[in-house]
């Protein structure tokens, strides 16, 4: 039996073996390709920083997913929540020039968190009050968010010269500065790691976190023992959205400094894979996100030096996820139950668990 820690690594090794076969079949040298991948992801100070920068939004959105999924709230809308958070940050950012740096930073990040919270909370409210399946509502709200971003950069927030579909740059007071410029190392990842710890404490060390997990594992029992399901649903979706929105605000504040279309390459969706690989454990989100960020980052070097298309990296990512899930994580069982509707009653009826005798 592999331990929980060893499983992802075993899966990674298995994925690498499969990829090697594919590469060899394509006539490339697997060793050279993997070396380039590693070089691109961790080969230099800049490469490392870039990997961290690329992973940061995945940590925020991964935490958003893990929190919601822990309560069996299937938030597929982290991408939309991140986008709305970014729009909020991009909207207030240009107006913060006269404020001290610390206040400007807090304001722009709070704007992002509030925007994301509103977007996530809306889906939670629809679930709690109107029984709208949050999978559907969050997917739909993703489309709305993407179009909203497109609209604001062509309309109300378009930069004054009206030449490019971007917003005005945010005030420098509201920018998370780069340490060791020109590298893009910033406080974003530190904030993300702190939030990962906070999410862990919230889920496993507070009464509210317990209620959320109880709701996720057995909604009926939670109802029976006085957990206020509707309020908890709205709260959890809002907090989940806030985490994603904060990721969007950090991206605007530290990296992009302005809004433009397709700001997110799909972080909110990649985050689902990140969260599942991390088995919904907030502390494991950080290394899982770094793994995905490193694969993203390394792909460019791979393409440059080995002539391998970056699409192949997506193939690798897909294989890693599939293989890790095939090793059957609890997170996956939960999702499977949701999708195929297995109730805890049916799970209980499975003989090996239900039949353990007294003695």
């Amino acid at each position: 039996m592999l331990s929980a820690v060893a499983k992802p690594f075993a899966a990674l090794a298995l994925a690498a073996a499969l990829i090697s076969v594919v590469l060899a079949a394509l006539g490339a040298s697997p060793a050279g390709v993997f070396a380039a991948l590693g070089e691109g992801a961790f080969g230099s100070w800049y490469a490392c920083v870039d990997t961290i920068v690329k992973s940061t939004p995945l940590v925020f959105t991964g935490l958003a997913i893990s929190l919601a999924f822990s309560g069996a709230l299937w938030n597929i809308g982290a991408d939309g929540q991140l986008t709305i958070g970014a729009i909020a940050a991009g909207a207030v950012g240009p107006h913060l020039a006269d404020f001290p740096h610390s206040i400007a930073i807090v304001t722009i990040l709070a704007a992002g968190a509030l925007g994301g919270a509103a977007w996530g909370g809306l889906a939670g409210w629809l679930r709690a009050r109107r029984d709208v399946n949050e999978v559907i509502s969050t997917i739909m709200l993703n489309f709305v968010a993407v179009q909203a971003l497109s609209w604001v950069v062509h309309g109300p927030l378009m930069e004054p010269s009206r030449a490019y579909p971007t917003s005005s740059p945010i005030a420098s007071a509201a920018q998370l500065e780069f340490y060791f410029a020109p590298s893009r190392l910033n406080l974003g990842m530190l904030l993300a790691v702190a939030l990962a710890a906070a999410c862990y404490l919230l889920l496993f060390r507070t009464g509210t976190g317990f209620e959320l997990r109880a709701m996720g594992r057995n909604r009926r029992a939670a109802t029976f023992f006085g957990v206020r399901i509707p309020a908890l649903t709205v709260w959890a979706m809002a907090v989940s959205g806030a985490l994603a929105g904060l990721g969007g605000a950090v991206q605007v504040s530290a990296i992009s400094h302005r809004l433009y279309e397709k700001l997110s390459p799909g972080w909110g969706f990649e985050a689902i894979a990140v969260a599942l690989v991390a088995r919904l454990n907030p502390l494991a989100i950080v290394p899982a996100a770094l793994l995905f960020g490193a694969l993203d980052n390394g792909s460019q070097a791979m393409q440059r030096t080995q002539g391998i298309s970056p699409e192949l990296v997506q193939v690798i990512q897909g294989l890693v996820i599939l293989i890790i899930l095939a090793f059957d994580t609890p997170a996956w069982s939960g999702l499977r139950e949701q999708i195929f509707g297995a109730s805890s009653e049916e799970a209980a009826a499975v003989p090996p668990v239900a039949e353990m005798p007294d003695a």
């Binding site: 496993f204 060390r205 507070t206 009464g207 509210t208 976190g209 317990f210 209620e211 997990r213 109880a214 594992r217 057995n218 009926r220 029992a221 939670a222 109802t223 029976f224 023992f225 006085g226 609890p330 509707g341 109730s343 805890s344 009653e345 049916e346 799970a347 209980a348 009826a349 003989p351 090996p352 668990v353 239900a354 039949e355 353990m356 005798p357 007294d358 003695a359």
Partner: protein, 492 residues
């Protein structure tokens, strides 16, 4: 002939079956009796292809059955009815039955639900069952209705061997004799009927042979003529259980604790579920609420627990706060426990305990663990420790955990629904003793049950619920037959 030879099956460190031999011949009803955890269900699961034994094999007419394949077992003619119904909650009952042999419609792909329903109704009429209205989804059915559905589904396969795991525990007394007649009919047709039960009177009444399991081994093979309930009970547990003494309950109850007035509830379709219920429960008494499942008890308990809201009427707790009530729901696996969480986490489901182990929102898991360890000790829950996953406990120990949690919540009132269903004699006696101690210390209990014998044994007062109406019985009226008629709705 159905044979099991030297079946051994281990779960972790626990030996569930230890070299068990079993045989049943066509045209017999073979009762399999034993305590919770004796291995009855494990044996059934091996025979029905649900479990692969570690050693040994199962044979039907000399041919070995493919281990671990329910499909193969079914094809060979072995159908099983499980204790917790295995139905598709969100599908209609007709669709659930269509999975069996009822759908013999025109094409393989054509599903004629009307034909399924018609076949099911004609078979149910023969058995004296009533089926739910057309189109009802399983999640809205009572436990009894679910078990009936599952029996019907099993019979629809026209099985040569029918294995039933505690099928009678949810039947009304009036339905019981019809059900036992059904078993006799099946025997008359030359089928093999294996009846798993812990109701010894039933086993003696209907079985041709009885096999007693104790702790994974065959303790005895006997026939009704050679044995008695007392002898069987002794064989099952190997010791004599002392029944708790109901007279320990205070004869003069104290002040009122629960006051229910004119409680009325309609379901979504406007059908009346509860009809102007009024009753009181006082400190120091156990009030029994007897009724056949599906007469409004589940809704009443949910109302008291605050999961539902009444159409009209009032529930008053004389302590003022709803925290003063602890509810033990009937379906412990579905409503009462979170099976894949740890024992201490399950304790925390109860709000008073949750509040006791959190301060300013922060959870003190040490305190929760300590409390859990204490309760494991005090209520003799057989579990390695607080970190054990609730799903790893046997039914009896899950129930002990629920009772322990209710008591530890320090309520003034415990509302318990069918808490001894599926429990053996020893575990039942223990639960009853705990409730009697609780009332002796001034607590109040509302015990909702479909088991009249249980209620008569420990309740001071007895209410009967039928079709959503409650009537109080005379304290002196303890005639089970008359009360059984009232439960079945006579005199409405």
């Amino acid at each position: 002939m159905l044979r099991a030879i030297a079946i051994t099956r281990r779960f972790g460190r626990t030996l569930a079956l230890d070299g068990v031999d079993f045989e049943a011949i066509p045209g017999e009803i073979h009762a399999l009796v034993g305590e919770n955890g004796a291995g009855k269900t494990t044996l059934m699961n091996v025979l029905a292809g649900w479990l692969v034994p570690d050693h040994g094999e199962a044979l039907l007419d000399g041919r070995a059955l493919q281990a671990g394949s329910p499909r193969a077992a079914l094809a060979a003619g072995i159908a099983a009815v499980h204790q917790s119904p295995m139905l598709f909650e969100r599908m209609r009952w007709e669709e659930n039955l269509a999975l069996g042999g009822f759908d013999t419609g025109a094409g393989a792909d054509a599903l004629d639900l009307a034909a399924v329903a018609a076949r099911a109704r004609s078979l149910a009429a023969k058995l004296g069952f009533e089926l739910p209205p057309a189109g009802a989804t399983v999640e809205n059915l009572s436990v009894a209705e679910r078990v009936r559905l599952e029996v019907l589904r099993a019979l629809s396969f026209n099985p040569r061997v029918l294995i039933l795991d505690e099928p009678t525990s949810v039947l009304a007394p009036s339905q019981l004799s019809a059900f036992l007649d059904l078993l006799r009919n099946l025997r008359g047709e030359g089928r093999i009927v294996v009846l798993i039960t812990h109701k010894l009177a039933e086993a003696i009444a209907v079985a041709d042979r009885i096999t007693v399991l104790r702790r994974g081994r065959v303790a005895a093979r006997t026939t009704p003529a050679e044995t008695s309930e007392e002898k069987l009970a002794g064989l099952m547990i190997g010791e004599i259980v002392t029944q708790p003494d109901a007279s320990a309950a205070r004869p003069h109850p104290g002040g009122p604790v629960l006051h229910v007035e004119n409680l009325t509830l309609d379901d979504r379709t406007g059908r009346r579920i509860l009809d102007r219920l009024s009753f009181r429960v006082a400190a120091g008494e156990i009030v029994g609420l007897a009724g056949v499942d599906g007469n409004g008890q589940t809704e009443l308990v949910e109302l008291l627990a605050g999961v539902r809201h009444p159409g009209s009427g009032k529930v008053t707790l004389h302590d003022g706060s709803s925290r003063a009530m602890a509810v033990i729901p009937q379906n412990r696996d579905l409503d009462g426990l979170i099976l894949d969480m740890r024992l201490w986490e399950n304790l925390m489901l109860a709000r008073p305990i949750r509040e006791q182990v959190t301060s300013h929102g922060w959870l003190n898991s040490w305190r929760a663990s300590d409390l859990c360890r204490e309760l494991i000790e005090r209520f003799r829950i057989r579990a390695p420790g607080p970190e054990t996953i609730a799903g790893a406990l046997s039914g009896g120990n899950r129930q002990r955990l629920e009772v322990a949690r209710a008591i530890a919540s320090r309520p003034r009132l415990i509302v318990a629904h069918n808490i001894c269903r599926g429990l053996d004699l020893a575990a039942t006696a223990e639960v009853h003793r705990t409730l009697l101690e609780f009332t002796a210390a001034g607590g109040a209990v509302l015990l909702v049950s479909s088991d009249l014998d249980e209620l008569l044994a420990i309740c001071g007062r007895l209410l009967i619920i039928s079709r959503g109406k409650i009537r109080e019985t005379n304290p002196g009226d303890r005639d089970p037959q008359r009360l059984g008629l009232l439960m079945a709705g006579a005199g409405d």
